[in-house]
């Protein structure tokens, strides 16, 4: 399970993608993934918001995630 990181999320983790395949308790939902990120990288708690995209679409906390999904951490956007 690979998670893409952008913007400040990339800076917090220190790289542009994160391989979760080796961790014990793989997150099964978007909510569990956010929980895992907050636990592993406490700095995420300082962000004004945090969203997750699954296969290029904003996903709800209940959305199940699978190892072949394209998953991305979306910190507050600031384009334009």
């Amino acid at each position: 399970m690979e998670v893409f990181l952008f913007g400040i999320a990339k800076d917090i983790v220190g790289k542009s993608d994160l391989d979760l395949s080796s961790i014990k308790q793989k997150p099964n939902t978007v909510g569990e993934l956010i929980h895992f990120m907050n636990d592993s990288y406490p700095e995420f708690a300082n962000l004004s918001s945090l969203a997750v995209a699954v296969n290029g679409e904003y996903a709800s906390l209940e959305m199940p995630i699978q190892s072949n999904d394209e998953i991305a951490i979306i910190p507050p956007v600031s384009g334009g």
Partner: protein
């Protein structure tokens, strides 16, 4: 409506936008260009750096264009965002529409940029002389 022109590019050429939107059925064209401002909260900006989740950003921009074309009778839409490092006065985003009448031109153009800023996965880092900040990241 014609197929919208939606792109993420390295450099924006504002001179071509009018030709892209020009259209025999349109009486008006409205274009908004976002540019790098020298000062933010009285601090001097050296440059802005833009990063995009490109595949999703394009998908979101297409959704916004589709929503706009449902809300207003538009003939053409352009949405183009730059990535990479942009110096003061450079264009970072351009959105525009053409339509029969001017009222919908203004409303739709404003909708495009407002919605882009709210939902498209693109991130801006402000580079100052002695620090850099991801915009909007913190409350």
């Amino acid at each position: 409506m014609q197929k919208p022109i939606i792109e993420i590019v390295d450099t924006i050429n504002t001179a071509v936008v009018y030709d892209e939107l020009s259209d025999a059925q349109s009486g008006g064209i409205c274009v908004f260009v976002g540019t790098v401002r020298e000062f933010t909260n009285n601090e001097t900006v050296v440059s802005l750096q833009f990063e995009a989740y490109k595949s999703m950003a394009l998908k979101e921009m297409h959704k916004i264009a589709e929503k706009a074309s449902i809300k207003w009778p538009l003939n053409k839409i352009v949405m183009r965002h730059a990535v990479g490092s942009k110096k003061v006065q450079e264009a970072v985003v351009v959105v525009g529409v053409s339509a029969a009448h001017r009222v919908e031109c203004f409303e739709a153009c404003k909708f495009l940029i407002d919605t882009l800023k709210a939902s498209v996965p693109i991130w801006k880092k402000e580079i100052f002389k002695n620090k850099s900040i991801w915009v909007s990241a913190h409350p």
